[in-house]
Amino acid sequence: MKKTFRNLRLSPYLYLTPSLTHISLAIFVLLLPQVVMLFVTKSYSNLLIILISITASYLAELLSNKIRHKNTLLDFTALVQGLMIGMFIPSSYPLVTVFIFTFISLLISKHIFGGTGATWINPVAFTVVFFYLLGMSFFPETMITKSLLEGGQPGLDLINSGSFDLMSFDSKITFALNTHFFSHLGIEVPNGYISLFWDSGSPIPAFRFNFLTLIASIILISFDMINWIAPAVYLFVYSVLVLLFSQMPFTGKFAQGDVLFSILTSGTLFTAFFMVDSYGTTPQSWGGKIIYGAIAGLFCFLICGCGTSSIGNMFTVLICNIISPIIQYFEDRIYIYKVNKTMRKNNYA
């Protein structure tokens, strides 16, 4: 009988995961509150940079599609990439340069490393590092100095010295948390951390609104739009290393590191949930993701140290992207070994 398939739609007609387009749109929508906050806090130069980077990203995608005869504009990945690039660029970066660099960098990234999914290097991290290498002076310098480290409390010293703007509600919330929650755990959080959590005031938008980043991440993880394993392991390993070893070389004290300050001042939360587990760049198995996350956490500690690094996380992501194919190679070998072993066991030639 002649087989004629006339249906335009294939099964299944029920999905457990949203489509790539919906995921991209969800990420965009969940990052919009941070854009709104930029407007509220009158960070107009950041807003302009985001607008320009989105435009450049779309134009790069358009040209890339023309060259490769593809149509990926409607999956909205270019929109998310443009937004994320804009959120990692400091407010002082010249607008024309932002447009040119974003356009060129994304085009290079797409054609050397591949497009969405096919790329093994995170295009956002690649572009931001590209920006950094060509304009280091525009990126804020690391605030933690050797003398602060030798003081034993670099984070607290920086907060107390007025390096960060404290919110009016900071002391009230800190007091309430200390009274009703942390006191039961025998901990007392000093003033200033709530401000860092709400808005660290960094010229780089991705580093600022840690609370909104966390909320967006929780929603995305709940709907299975981003995988939680690598980000969780990354944050865990980085936190443990900061806690245990960050003070040792300077004060000789073990387990005295300031985890909260480290996470809230280098865009670590944003990097963990939006950059570390980027599609195509991470291993696929649970084991692979755990190793990948652990390596990322280790490199983050080695590069960013106790926090306030403006580019350390991007270098971390790039290094991990380079290591990832090696992990993926071993993932494949282990898979093939396991399958062959099962086949032999079941006497299947």
Binding site: K2, N7, S11, P12, L16, H22, Q284, V339
Partner: protein, 443 residues
């Protein structure tokens, strides 16, 4: 495994009654009523045929010893022979029968035959073939062929147990449990007939906990001569459930625990197949009716209909009060494993169990994008296949590699890989294509 609740869009409805649909004035009788076997028509255009008359008894594949014969669902005149789109998405030669003449079965008293003593095993197998019974457990193949193979095998090997599935494989459907409850005695007797044919040592009835009331022993013990019937309730929480591999595992788990015995294979049948066997052997009533669950947010009335094969979807929807909203898709046999049909004149065949009519509101986005290597398909696959790798290599025209090639045969066709793919890549379809090619090659 994934919780079965996640696969439920409309929620599982428990039906207590069914409606007998009107006979179609024009039936479209497909010559392909089973999964793959296409039959040769015995009748020609213009010929007058009776209700239940065999119109096709020979399969186009000569190796098919006992094909499921096809019967006319209504008495009438063959108006035309056409190639028509079928519920499985393929085209098949079909007879257009316009109703006229007298009824042989409808409205007549059913004869009752004593199946225990009356006929030999081979005669029973032949009768199952003549009654056009297919086993809807998995592949919708001729039941008589399966029985014959087991009987032949049992001459040199020990025989196998019979497992009756009294629950539905998909979360939205409830046709098997409905048949099992409504026709409990007939289903059990049908299973007893099959058990006797294959000389099964055990007959295991698996039902979903709370869906099926287990009968008293006195109600069925006289039916089984050699076989030991057992009713087992299972709390089925996850999808996939009820495929052959899982049924075998469940059966062996039970038999090992209770009787310290395990089997390499079992014969799995559905409740519907048992009912057909009962009707076919006890009443000599051919498989010309189907129970069909019609459901969805676009249809006016969700219900179970008893429909003559050859009835078109258009007639069925009219029977259900039509559409109260504009339908977007008509999906046959389940939202996970089903097929979308575009033609309202598609006829009901023996392998149709459910019809879902959905509006665009519930329809998922299916635009395919590039694989993003998220690995979700690998993590969810119960058989540990790598759907993304297989697809990637196949679509690039690269050789699959011996390991990936070997794994293909383990695919249980549950489609979980497709359901988690954010790029909406036809992973299952690719694996199925390769699996079919592999089977053809081996054959």
């Amino acid at each position: 495994m994934v919780s079965i609740r996640e696969f439920s869009r409309f929620g599982k409805q428990q039906y207590q009654t069914y409606k007998i649909a009107y006979l179609p004035s024009m039936a479209v009788l497909s010559m392909c009523q089973s999964g793959s076997c296409s039959m040769k028509s015995l009748v020609e255009k213009g010929e007058q045929i009776e209700e239940g008359q065999i119109v096709a008894s020979e399969c186009e594949n000569p190796d098919n010893k006992y094909p499921a014969c096809i019967h006319s669902p209504i008495p009438g005149i063959i108006k035309d022979v056409l190639d028509i789109s079928m519920p499985n998405g393929k085209n098949a030669k079909s007879l257009l029968i316009e109703m006229s003449g007298n009824f042989t079965f409808s409205g007549q008293k059913k004869d009752v035959y004593d199946w225990k003593n009356a006929v030999s095993v081979s005669r029973k197998i032949k009768q199952i073939s003549e009654m056009g019974i297919i086993n809807t457990f998995e592949k919708n193949e001729s039941l008589a062929n399966q029985l014959d193979e087991i009987v032949e095998e049992s001459k040199s090997h020990s025989t196998k147990p019979l497992v009756v599935r009294l629950f539905d494989k998909e979360s939205d459907t409830s046709i098997e449990s409905f048949i099992a409850n409504q026709f409990k005695a007939q289903v059990i007797e049908g299973a007893a007939i099959i058990a006797e044919i294959i000389n099964a040592p055990f007959v295991l009835f698996f039902s979903q906990k709370g869906e099926f009331s287990i009968p008293e022993k006195a109600e069925y013990q006289d039916l089984f001569v050699k076989a030991k019937p057992q009713f087992i309730e299972k709390k089925i929480k996850n999808y996939p459930c009820g495929n052959y591999k899982q049924i075998l595992k469940m059966a062996n788990q039970f038999l090992k625990e209770k009787h310290a015995i395990e089997y390499e294979s079992v014969l799995g049948v559905s409740a519907e197949t048992c009912l057909d066997v009962y009707n076919g052997i006890v009443h000599s009533y051919p498989a010309i009716d189907r129970f069909i669950q019609v459901q969805g947010d676009a249809i006016a009335q969700n219900q179970i209909l008893k429909v003559r094969i050859g009835t078109t979807l258009r007639n069925i929807f009219n029977e259900c009060g039509g559409f109260h909203e504009q339908p977007s898709q008509i999906i046959i046999n389940g939202l996970v494993n089903g097929t979308a049909v575009s033609d309202l004149d598609t006829p009901v065949t023996r392998y149709v169990h459910t019809i879902f009519v959905t509006t665009s509101r519930y329809f998922p986005r299916q635009i395919q994008t590039q694989c993003i290597r998220c690995g979700k398909c690998n993590l969810i696959c119960e058989e540990k296949l790598r759907p993304d790798k297989i697809y990637e290599r196949y679509s690039a025209g690269d050789p699959l590699g011996s390991t990936y090639e070997k794994t293909i045969k383990y695919c249980t066709e549950c489609q979980l890989c497709n359901t988690v793919c954010p790029a909406r890549i036809p992973l299952y379809q690719t694996i199925k294509l390769l699996k079919d090619r592999q089977n053809e090659k081996n054959f």
